[in-house]
């Protein structure tokens, strides 16, 4: 879960890291501009990089100029997102730019501190073009970072004199923040050395572990709560997000109702493999309520592009009878006429089958294009039949 720059800097300030005194301005008004010293930098708040090239970073020498430039940034679209806020900070004169980050190294299963004298640029490029300029220090989980370790690192960045101790404090603070708030990534790029001998965090990135938010009520107090990841959402994706359903629109004609995310990914592969085109990715696994199951079916069947539905349920933690009930209720209430080819196996399979059979008897017309296979039907045959059904609908 990524934070906006202004949020990350508020978190940084709590750990004593040297951020500039900035103000955040949104469409509500410009009063806050009275609080800053000019000249200023205006930075549109977005998750996606390349803000400079997109004109999201502007400079202003006066309040009037700032107001004008902010107006031009607010409402711009960047990486599929409208810019809703800008961060306004005093402009500083930069002498050198450094790079600092702490991340979870998923290869070594340890924490990793990375530093570079080449700050202010894309660090992945530095890593590939000048790997010797990117220094890496691994830390065991739970290990203390002592000041001397941070100092050695700061010294390696070419900091000396008073800047050595300032740099040591920044590295210690960044690591403590990383550990203290369960971060996946805590990054400063650039950490600037100014011409008046200060060390300043100019840009800050924080990626939090959503699954650890419960133990950081202070973040909630700061208005930082779980949120959807980056990317422009389609209308259907927005509906799905509101309902708490992991869902991504694709451009095919087969609605996919696959159970868990793992088989959802496999199902998309298999549909393509056999010449079909999936209309979506979805995670309908775990043990969703019947209401949620029906909302999932609705997402698929209300999509005009969808010609047929592929459905699968392998009852492990979830129950087939619950799933069958939800399908039946949705069909009876919404009377969809699109073909649905499905397979149901596992926990409470027998009970589920009875529910389907009974519904078929009661509503033969509604269930004419609906088939629910059992354990003995290979899932790929179900997929192939769905593809045939979709083609027949054209």
């Amino acid at each position: 879960m990524r934070l906006y720059e202004y949020e990350a800097k508020r978190v940084f300030a709590r750990y004593g890291l040297p951020v500039l005194p900035g103000v955040v301005i949104d469409s509500q008004g410009y009063q806050q501009l009275d609080k800053v010293t000019y000249p200023v930098v205006i930075k549109g708040q977005a998750f996606v990089g390349g803000r400079g090239k997109s004109g999201l970073v502007q400079f202003a020498n006066s309040r009037d100029e700032a107001q004008e430039k902010i107006a031009s940034v607010l409402g711009k679209c960047h990486g599929g997102h409208a810019i809703e806020r800008v961060l306004v900070e005093p402009r500083v004169n930069i002498e050198r730019e450094l790079y600092l980050s702490v991340i979870v190294d998923r290869l070594q299963h340890r924490f990793l501190l990375m530093t570079s004298r080449r700050g202010g640029v894309d660090i992945e490029e530095v890593a590939s073009s000048e790997p010797e300029e990117l220094l890496k220090y691994h830390l065991n989980i739970g290990a203390d970072m002592h000041a001397f370790m941070a100092r050695k690192t700061a010294s390696g960045l070419g900091l000396s004199g008073p800047l050595l101790n300032a740099g040591t404090a920044v590295i210690l603070g960044l690591y403590r923040l990383f550990v203290g708030y369960d971060c996946k990534v805590a990054e400063i790029n650039p950490l600037a050395v100014t011409d008046d001998g200060r060390l300043l965090v100019l840009d800050a990135k924080v990626d939090l572990d959503e699954d650890a938010m419960f133990r950081h009520p202070v973040l909630k107090d700061m208005g930082i709560t779980a949120r959807h990841e980056v990317g422009e959402l389609t209308d259907r994706e927005k509906v799905a997000k509101k309902a708490g359903i992991p869902y991504v629109d694709l451009d095919g004609d087969i609605g996919v109702f696959p159970g868990g995310a793992g088989f959802g990914i496999a199902a998309i592969d298999l549909i393509q493999h056999y010449g079909g085109k999936p209309a979506n990715f979805m995670d309908s696994g775990g043990a969703p309520t019947q209401e949620k199951l029906r909302a999932m079916l609705g997402l698929l069947l209300d999509n005009p592009r969808v010609k047929a539905i592929f459905g699968a349920r392998f009852g492990g933690i979830s129950r087939c009878d619950d799933w069958a009930k939800a399908v039946v209720q949705y069909v009876v209430e919404n009377k969809p006429l699109k073909p649905m080819v499905m397979r149901m196996a596992g926990n409470m399979e027998e009970q589920g089958r009875k529910i389907i059979e009974q519904a078929k008897n009661e509503h033969p017309e509604l269930f004419r294009k609906i088939k629910v296979y059992a354990y003995d039907m290979p899932i790929e045959e179900v997929i192939k039949e769905t593809i045939r059904a979709a083609k027949a609908e054209k």
Binding site: G79, S101, L107, H109, V230, F314, G316
Partner: protein, 293 residues
């Protein structure tokens, strides 16, 4: 000998009084798994399905010293402590059903386990089954038949469909292992492949990976060293690409993580690549030739 759990493996259930854990304790017992005790702090003295509940793992082990495998069903915020407690009491394998464990917690527990030579499966694993012998977790028994193929997968449902596909082709499993869906896992493909390689009841292995993460690539070199055939099934070839977000983690993980990079690494090391579920038993039969009756 199957791997991890066998007919005679004595196991315990941590968090046994939770709704889900209690339900699956019933299923596990029905399947024949030997559960000697459960643990829920503050509920010592109760029973779940005739299984005695203890306050601490230590109490449980003091009365049931034969237990070597535990499964963890506690809420995510207590998972780290439950795993550390299991390690402290000398458990050999810890099957972590709990999902969405904080990443730093799991890293901590994983490190503690490695230091003590303890195996953690999961978090967010559907479990481990040695068909016809024992089941730990919540895998649906209907999917699995006894046989001589070892399977290991990241996704629970993919595990079931692979088993289904094998069974429909007349094959069965020695043991089936779910690695788990959490971002940090205690055990990766290579760890399980090493166990299957040594297991006298396993003739060949199926590993099912998916887009994201690096565990498939990391396991590839070991496949080159194995004497037993490995069929790999990697999903996510057609998955929508998320927008590329520059992030520091990519520096470490490089170009790993796509279906293509995984398939290439595995193929280069001699794994047989199955494009579909139904290809899996075909490739296995080819590789094993007349070995299979």
């Amino acid at each position: 000998m199957a791997i991890i759990v066998d007919k005679n493996t004595a196991t315990i259930v941590q968090g046994v009084t939770g709704t889900n854990a209690a339900l699956h304790t019933k299923f596990m017992l029905k399947y024949g798994t030997k559960i000697v005790g459960g643990v829920t702090p503050g509920k010592g003295g109760q029973h779940v399905e005739d299984v005695p509940v203890y306050d601490t793992v230590r109490d449980c082990i003091d009365e049931n010293p034969e237990a070597t495998v535990t499964s963890i069903w506690v809420p995510p915020r207590f998972a780290k402590d439950a795993i550390l407690e299991a390690i402290d009491t000398g458990m050999k394998s810890i099957v972590v059903i709990t999902e969405r464990i904080p990443i730093h917690d799991m890293l901590y527990a994983r490190q503690a386990a490695k230091e003590r030579g303890v195996m953690i499966i999961g978090g967010n694993t559907p479990g481990v089954i040695s068909p016809g012998k024992a089941l730990i977790g919540m895998l649906p028994k209907i999917a699995f038949q006894s046989g001589r193929i070892g399977t290991v997968a990241r996704s629970g449902a993919v595990t079931y469909y692979i088993a289904n596909s094998l069974n429909l082709a007349g094959l069965g499993e020695s043991t089936s292992v779910g690695l788990g869906g959490d971002p940090i896992l205690g055990t990766n493909f290579e760890d399980v492949l090493r166990l299957f390689e040594k297991d006298s009841e396993t003739d060949a292995v199926v590993m099912a990976g998916e887009i994201g993460g690096v565990y498939e690539e990391l396991a590839a070199p070991y496949i080159g060293e194995m004497s037993k055939p490995v069929v790999a099934y990697i999903t996510g070839k057609a998955a929508p690409q998320g927008k590329r977000l520059g992030h520091a983690g990519a520096i470490v993980e490089g170009n790993m993580g796509t279906a293509a990079s995984k398939i290439k690494a595995l193929k280069d090391n001699g794994a047989l690549i199955a494009e579909t579920l139904s290809e899996i038993p075909v490739l296995l039969k080819e590789a094993l030739g007349s070995v299979i009756g």
